[in-house]
Symmetry: C2
Subunit: 171 residues, 2 copies
DNA sequence: CATGTTGATAAAAGTACATTATTCTAGGCT
DNA sequence: AGCCTAGAATAATGTACTTTTATCAACATG
């Protein structure tokens, strides 16, 4: 009892797979297999970013008012090779929105211009301050009235590790 | 002229590959191949996190004072399915370190308890406020003296989208 | 004619295998 | 003895192939 004959048009349709897209076999370290599968499945850790206005009384996030999909690493880190994090200690930059235990995103490849917030090493202590650099004078300015500016004279050497681009604060 | 004989001990040693680790072939969407290879190669977007103390006069980040390697997505997002981002507008939470254009990380799965900073929808407008919830009274408290608390009476319905866990501020 | 069943078809997923890359040893050479 | 080299050994890599999964057209059935 054959049900023979041509079957053109039959077959599994395209895009019916896990990713709705054709896939490729690649080789990755065994220890990362799980994370990479999660990464691939969630579309690269991208999550929705919502803007200000939403439908009246809307009880939950809706796609209507989405600004886009955002990946934190992609958004905050432009050059992984020159970026690192620093954990904040102390209150000297509180008026710049930098609190103790915050994590700073620091880029080593940016120019240390006047007015930038920098990570500097002074006497073996890591410090975050706003850089003042005008008319040959160099100072590290705190943003808290309880602290004094640090004057960088000819004796001291200023080692600037990098420029702060973002502050991550835990509420 | 055979150079025959045993060659025990010969052969390519383990861990001499790109990842210094044995690998596994997995299948990923074609459009993500590049990003995933970058992801795998950089060890999962992990970057160094430095603590407070460093060697005296040390001119550049050294491994000696590293706290660990950190991946932003992993550190800030505990449940991708219930997490989203919201862009801040307005100054009503400035004293909580939440500035206009900051990005908030919001978790929908957390309890909206008294004192938490929440994302709520009021009259079609998305708003971030501190939740006051005591003795049957519910209020949305700004953290800026120029703004008034919002009383939630029996007429209004409060739609809480989620709890703010982190603030990302661009300096 | 409507409905159900079966096997043809084709994509997706996973894996084994062939290929490539790397290192090391034994034997030859100086 | 020390240096050089062919090729033996083995891990790493990429891809071809096999297995699995999904859908649909043709046929049978009521």
């Amino acid at each position: 009892m054959p049900r023979g004959g041509k079957r053109s048009g039959a077959g599994r349709p395209k895009g019916t797979g896990k990713y709705s897209e054709s896939t490729k076999a690649i080789r990755v370290p065994e220890s990362m297999v799980e994370r990479i599968l999660e990464f691939a499945h969630s579309g690269g850790f991208k999550l929705p970013l919502y803007g200000g206005k939403v439908a009246a009384g809307c009880p939950a996030p809706t796609d209507d008012y989405i600004e886009g999909m955002l990946d934190l690493s992609e958004h905050l880190i432009h050059d992984p090779a020159s970026t690192f994090f620093v954990r904040v200690t102390g209150y000297s930059m509180i008026n710049a929105g930098i609190h103790p235990d915050d994590i700073l995103i620091v880029d080593r490849s940016l120019q240390a211009n006047h007015g930038k917030i920098v990570i500097a090493a002074i006497d073996g202590e890591l410090t975050v301050k706003r850089l003042y650099k005008k008319q040959g004078e160099v100072r590290l300015m705190p943003e808290n009235d309880d602290f004094e500016p640090i004057e960088i004279g000819s004796e001291e050497t200023l080692h600037i590790w990098g420029i702060v681009t973002n502050v991550i604060h835990t509420v």
